[in-house]
């Protein structure tokens, strides 16, 4: 069909070449792709059913890991498992198929592709053409980086708006249309330059395939960057409130807050990792010592009292540990913990129970914050297990967002929501006057490297929940999408044309 079927063998065949040939074998490619299918299937089934795990768990244990355990019970129907005795159920749960994890498969594919490129997809350009190709490739990379940093955002946007104004269609298309088209156009621009570079380097026949391969690499890279750097959080605001921090999703901390005489408060936070550990935590400045007793990844509150707890809210509420919520249910886990407090001198201050369900923002303000109090050495502390707090700040200071108005529009003749939106005032660090903005579904706000999305609202319908995401590489997939689309388009169209030009009856092949 094309160059790939017949490897271009060089006359010499050293050990390195042999190894490359093995590594770059297309059979390995197919094997790795088939393995990834099994992995994805296993990861999907693991999220479903009564014994399903949360998406986060599946992602860490199956996709973003070196080796994965694909549990056999996830392939069996729930009804079948439930019909067994508890012992049999536990027995069944124990079996798993060890499999290559997502990182391993990704890396192996990367090496496979690399070896294949060294062997079969070699750069054919020489001398001037090679230099020109490399120069254009450099241009493409520079352009790509510019796009990723948002440097072209306005340029193409304005160009498009200009074109639209000429055709007089501007008023009929909504904002989101232009916004996305703008980004795809930026991606297409990069993709076109990439194509030019690859065409110079690899020639007409192979440029398309190399493009497709590089788009896959770029997607893997973006996923890696997300894995390493992306931060998901929420901001909960009632009308009239303002906040300069966000609540990190799925990460928690114990805050010990001391209200100072001048009306200020001083917070000390214990991160989740320490709370889930066993070692004692010494806080000499506060004159406190903490001994974490138990960490529940997911829990619920019942009436009764938590065994062993002799101080605070846990005396009147029973904290029960629950299995983690599965990925299909989309309910987030509600962690809880038991912590023993003592004074500097070792005198006991009581065993406290903390639940994330005491935190107002965590439960979408269905109840107010439930602080627990602790007194020690004449100082008063308020305690709260809350989502890890991240302040919105840069060198110049903090930014804050105030919710002016929250509005829900419903479909006529229906309770279904048509849209909901938050009118906000944004005060950027170092700015004195706030700037007005609106966030609604599919119309996020991007500030300080973070993106604020309309995600939900309080059940009283007078407050908003914004999803806040920090991901430096968010533009990469746009570029990658257009590289893949252009590459495949060029490749498949050239195959089709080649085929149609071929004479003979029957047409095909």
């Amino acid at each position: 069909m094309n160059g790939s079927t017949k490897p271009e063998t060089a006359p010499e065949s050293g050990a390195l070449r042999q190894m490359l040939r093995l590594m770059g074998s297309i059979r390995i490619t197919v094997f790795l792709m088939a393995s990834s299918m099994f992995l994805v299937l296993g990861g999907t089934l693991a999220q479903a059913g009564a014994n399903g795990s949360s998406i986060e768990t599946v992602v860490t244990e199956i996709f973003r890991c070196w080796f994965a355990k694909i549990h056999i019970h996830t392939f069996l129907p729930d009804a079948f498992i439930e019909a067994r005795q508890p012992e049999t159920q536990r027995f069944l749960m124990r079996f798993f198929i060890p499999w290559l994890g997502g990182i391993s498969i990704g890396l192996l594919l990367f090496f496979n592709l690399l070896a294949a490129h060294l062997l079969r997809w070699k750069v054919t350009a020489r001398a001037g053409r090679l230099l020109a190709g490399l120069a254009v490739l450099g241009l493409a990379i520079g352009l790509g980086l510019l796009v990723i940093q948002g440097g072209l955002m306005d340029l193409i946007g304005r160009l498009l708006t200009g074109v639209a104004a000429v055709f007089g269609r501007q008023s009929t298309l909504d904002d989101s249309f232009w916004r996305v088209l703008d980004r795809l156009a930026q991606g297409l621009l990069v993709a076109a330059v990439v194509y030019a570079a690859l065409r110079l380097l690899y020639g007409k026949a192979k440029a398309g395939v190399v493009m497709i391969h590089s788009s896959v690499l770029l997607l893997l890279l973006a996923e890696l960057l997300t894995h390493l750097g992306a931060v998901e959080a929420r901001m909960t605001l009632r009308e009239g409130e303002s906040a300069d921090f966000v609540d990190r999703s799925n990460r928690f901390e114990l805050a010990i807050i001391e209200d100072l005489a001048d009306g200020q408060a001083r917070s000390t936070v214990i991160p989740q990792a320490l709370l889930a550990g066993k070692s004692e935590i010494d806080l000499p400045e506060l004159g406190l010592r903490l001994a974490p007793q138990m960490w529940f990844p997911n829990s619920d509150l019942r009436s009764g009292s938590t065994p062993g707890v002799d101080a605070g809210a846990g005396k009147e509420l029973l904290i029960v540990g629950l299995p983690e919520n599965n990925g299909v249910s989309s309910i987030s886990n509600a962690p809880a913990c038991l912590v023993k407090f003592s004074a500097k001198d070792g005198s006991p201050l009581g065993l406290y129970a903390f639940s994330s369900l005491f935190y107002g923002n965590f439960i979408a303000r269905q109840n107010p914050d439930l602080y627990q109090e602790l007194q020690c050495g004449g100082r008063k502390f308020r305690l709260m297990l809350r989502n890890e707090r991240e302040y919105l700040e840069n060198e110049e200071g903090r930014m804050s967002i105030a919710l002016r108005d929250f509005h829900i529009e419903r479909f006529m003749g229906s309770q279904d929501k048509m849209s909901y939106s938050s009118m906000i005032d944004i005060r950027m660090p170092g700015e004195s006057a706030p700037e007005h903005g609106e966030i609604w579904m599919n119309h996020p706000l991007r500030r300080l490297g973070r993106t604020f999305y309309q995600s939900g609202f309080l059940s009283s319908e007078d407050g908003t929940i914004l999803q806040v995401v920090k991901n430096g590489g968010w533009m990469i997939p746009y570029i990658s999408c257009m590289i893949a689309a252009l590459g495949m388009f060029i490749h498949f169209v050239s195959l089709l044309l080649k085929h149609l030009r071929r004479p003979g009856p029957g047409g095909q092949e």
Partner: protein
């Protein structure tokens, strides 16, 4: 393969077009007549009830505009959707044993006529539940009237709380049947109450009445039928009545509705009473044959009383005429209300457009930027809201009458039938007269494809959305893509191989769509996160094209295995097999393109809406699996690891992966189509996968014919 003469081709095309056109005309445009029934006693004498006629102009009544489930649609659509959910059918058997349209059922229900509870429309197939009701199973029909259910209904209703507590996925068949019946009954009452009004409002407790009626406002199934010039939202009839009483003047639209429903109730109650009387006069044998129960003496007495009373009422004879006279009044009132809003919206939009440039300049310039930018945001969001209102008051009312015609044409069913005919003829072509039958099958495919395209265009026109917005429309669109691909391929590769695959896929996907439409409204309003036309038009369309192309490649693979196994009439040549190989390969290239680009676009949508490109959730993973399956096929082919037989097997594997991604991932999460799909859906999905596995297992027996030189 010999090509048939031009004349044959022309005749075949003309004949097919003629047949299809005639059927379409007969369905959609010829006026509908409801047959009046001649009641005859055994002696041959015409009885009392023979004077029954259908004087109501149902065709015009079908076009009355109603706001329901988030959009404005004809009354006919409300009736069809309601009856489909309750009865899984768009027609019902009237008390006289005749098949009648859903609209008549809705009007009976809405007007509170005495026959409404007698219509056998509630479909119950669970034998345990039927036993509890003390009813006999009615094989082939399984439909029961509310009157039949009523005696034991209270007892069954006591089980609701207990069953509701059980998670939907954990319910057994009986519990599912109870919950399904409960939702059907609640829709029955919602529809009845939303049209209901107090016939004699003197002395009623207005506040209590208003409160009861207001509860309907939050009921998602309630139709809002009164368009008011002074209100942005359509109103419920009972609330419009409360309003009218307090203002001492009814709105013209509400008044026309009162008249319409009152006259309908009069007509149908009288007919029903006459029918009861007539039945009472029939001999036992005739009763048994008709499977209608004779009214007991008490009912008979009341029927007689009613008939006597109604017969002498002034104006009874003119009830039909009065009904018909109310129709144009109602349509005029609705049009007048729309016009008021239309003017308001157009005027305000023009104002905003003229204010926007200045506001934009102010927000970017010097001065009080905070106030200026707030003004700009307000203008923008008002403009957006007005755009949605324009949909309700300007766009929709102009389409409503046509939607009623489109409903009547039942294009989906017509397409299914004709695709099957094309399939049979194309398969026959593999046994005899291949060149000629190929042309006939292809002309039918072309014509049916045109109809299929029309359904898509009409849907886009009516809903104002890109073609795919939900599972139902994805089925219609996937079928369309496959048939299009089939037609194109058949013209390049004249082997009569693409036609049967395309025809089968077209018929099957439309059948699936028909099955999915049992949930009711297929153009439901979208959740806010999905309501972005750009993504619906790009991501969803791309990904469904990917599904369609993958299915098509799989279908060609299946056809080759079948042909190679049976090798009908020694038709196979090396060239033919080469063609099959090329077709599977070429179609998979398309599938790869659309599924990869579609999947990445889906990630971009997720990034745009939630700030994450890829979240590993089941639906995303399903799409990824299709991409990888296609990539495997292409790499195997490029490397020469497989030949035709391997390609066919891999393409069938693609079928399994795609069907699982399309439906299987929905099965993982309960509640998405809890009773419409999961029960039998899982069964049919397994059946499909098993059939593909069987074909894959048979593949080793199939031999590829190769030319001697290769």
């Amino acid at each position: 393969m010999k090509t048939p003469s031009k004349l044959f081709v022309v005749i075949s095309v003309l004949a097919v077009l003629g047949l299809l056109g005639a059927e379409l005309y007969a369905r959609a445009f010829s006026p509908r007549k409801l047959k009046p029934v001649e009641y005859k006693t055994e002696s041959g004498k015409t009885s009392f009830a023979s004077s029954w006629k259908t004087p109501q102009d149902l065709d015009l009544a079908a076009t009355l505009p109603v706001a329901h489930l988030g959009r404005v649609k004809p009354l006919d659509s409300v009736a069809r959707h309601g009856l489909t959910v309750i009865s899984e059918s768009q027609t019902f058997i009237d008390f006289d044993g005749q098949k009648r349209p859903a609209l008549l059922w809705l009007l009976d229900l809405a007007s509170g006529s005495s026959c409404a509870d007698e219509h056998r429309v509630f479909k119950i197939q669970n034998l345990d539940l039927l036993r509890k009701f003390g009813l006999d199973p009615r094989p082939g029909d399984f439909r029961y009237s509310l009157a039949e259910l009523q005696p034991k209904l209270e007892e069954i209703e006591k089980e609701y709380p207990e069953i509701s507590a059980v998670k939907p996925k954990r319910r057994n068949a009986y519990q599912n049947a109870v919950m399904s019946l409960s939702s059907k009954i609640s829709i029955h009452y919602t529809l009845r109450n939303a049209f209901g009004f107090v016939r004699d409002p003197t002395g009623i407790d207005l506040a209590a009445y208003k409160e009861a009626a207001s509860a309907l406002k939050s009921n998602p199934d309630a139709p809002f039928i009164v368009p008011l010039p002074g209100d942005r939202h359509w109103q419920l009839l009972p609330l419009a009545q409360v309003e009218g009483i307090s203002r001492q003047k009814y709105d013209p639209a509400a008044e026309a509705w009162f008249e319409l429903l009152t006259q309908h109730q009069l007509l149908r109650s009288l007919d029903f009473a006459r029918h009861q009387l007539f039945l009472a006069g029939l001999p036992e044998k005739a009763l048994a044959a008709k499977d209608r129960k004779a009214p007991d003496t008490e009912a008979l007495a009341s029927a007689r009383r009613l008939a006597d009373m109604l017969k002498d009422l002034p104006g009874t004879k003119d009830a039909g005429a009065a009904f018909n006279a109310a129709l144009p009044r109602l349509l005029e009132a609705a049009a007048a209300a729309c016009k008021v809003h239309q003017e308001r919206i157009t005027k305000r939009l023009a104002e905003i457009d003229s204010e926007l440039p200045a506001a934009r300049a102010a927000a970017e310039g010097e001065g009080d930027i905070a106030a200026a930018s707030e003004k700009l945001t307000r203008l923008r969001s008002e403009k957006q809201a007005l755009g949605k209102e324009a949909d309700v008051w300007i766009r929709a009312p102009s389409i409503v009458p046509h939607e009623a015609t489109i409903n009547r044409a039942a294009l989906n069913i017509q397409c299914i039938v004709w695709y099957f005919i094309a399939l049979v003829i194309a398969l026959l072509g593999w046994l005899v007269w291949r060149p000629h039958l190929r042309v006939v099958a292809l002309s039918i495919l072309w014509a049916t494809f045109a109809l299929h395209t029309a359904t898509l265009i009409l849907r886009i026109w009516i809903s104002g959305y890109p073609p795919v917005t939900n599972l139902y429309s994805s089925a219609v669109f996937i079928g369309w893509v496959v048939v299009l691909a089939g037609i194109v391929l058949e013209h390049f590769w004249r082997a009569n191989a693409a036609t049967p695959v395309a025809a089968l896929a077209g018929a099957m996907t439309l059948l699936i769509a028909q099955f999915l439409s049992l949930d009711g409204e297929t153009m439901k309003a979208l959740m806010p996160v999905l309501d972005t036309k750009f993504w619906l038009a790009t991501h969803v369309v791309c990904i469904t094209k990917g599904y369609g192309a993958t299915f098509f490649a799989g279908g060609i693979g299946a056809l080759w295995i079948l042909i190679a196994l049976f090798d009908p009439a020694g038709k196979r040549t090396p060239e033919l097999d080469k063609g099959f190989s090329g077709a599977i390969y070429g179609v998979t290239c398309f599938a790869m393109f659309f599924s990869l680009v579609g999947t990445v676009l889906g990630g971009l949508w997720a990034d745009d809406s939630w700030g994450r490109f890829w979240g590993w959730d089941p639906k995303e993973n399903g799409a990824l699996l299709i991409v990888i399956a296609n990539a495997i096929l292409l790499h195997c082919r490029w490397s020469g690891m497989v030949r035709l037989r391997g390609l066919a097997v891999l393409a069938l594997f693609g079928n399994i992966v795609t069907s699982w991604s399309w439906f299987g991932t929905n099965l993982l999460g309960a509640g998405l189509h809890a009773y419409g799909f999961t029960e039998s859906g899982a069964f049919y999905l397994s059946l499909f996968i098993a059939s593909q596995l069987l074909l894959m297992a048979l593949a080793p027996l199939a031999r590829e014919k190769r030319s001697s030189q290769s």
